[in-house]
Amino acid sequence: MMRDHAMDTDHIDCASAMERLFEFLDGELGPELEVRLRAHLEVCSHCFGQAGFERRFLAAVQAAREAERCPDRLRSRVLEALQREGWTGSDTP
């Protein structure tokens, strides 16, 4: 089984933890590494603080997602184009 050399010890060092921090926050790390990174954050105040900052940053970006909706004008335009293409459905959002 292939393992990441940076993660090849039971304990994760700060550099490795910071390198994989986003994957951890995104839930993309995989269960084994996630446990080990979480363990590191519990004992390392530097990385713990950094994780808190990145988490707040990502939450702010997500919250700022423009609640932008497709303009009605464009929706009508798309439906008309689809009808010309033979679409017979109805627009039921």
């Binding site: 995104d26 939450a59 702010a60 970006v61 700022a64 423009e66 689809l82 459905g89």
Partner: protein, 196 residues
Amino acid sequence: MRKPAATDAHAAFSAVALAAIDDVYRFARSLTRDEADAEDVVQEAYLRAFRSWHTFEMGTDVRRWLFTIARNVFLRSREKGKREVTLDDDGAEIVDAAQAREQWIQGGLDAILERTDLGPAIAAALAELPEPYREAVVLVDLEDQSYEAAAEVLEIPIGTVRSRLFRGRKLLQVSLAQHAMDAGLIPRATPAPSAE
């Protein structure tokens, strides 16, 4: 199960594909950064999606499928015009230059991240990200796509999604700090040595 009649397929297209039009529109906006271009991309993407609706696997993520189509439409439309430089190292030096100011950037940002009026500054900072980073950040952070889905849409290895996200988010922080400063949300703390 019998093959659904054409009318069923058309109804399913409405219920599944058209239901995601807000997401496709938002994604197209982030790709084109232009309202008129975004509208063209959305219309053409939906036409293509309808023509190949029979290839969509019901039960899989329709947004991932539509994003892929929309991005292909966008890339095709741009081939006619000037191609944007999409070097993967684009922006590396900005991140490097920001290392020295990292403490200040994080401190400044952390003080404002919970403000509810931060939306415009974040949107402006996002729009400035070089395209490869913007695509990755938009798909994962704004459209809630997994790394795997983003890799599929962008046609890049998952490791590249990872590195573009990392650099893209760091670039976004630098840019956001600048916008927040310009908007007076963060005090101008660090005097730039070369300013005036």
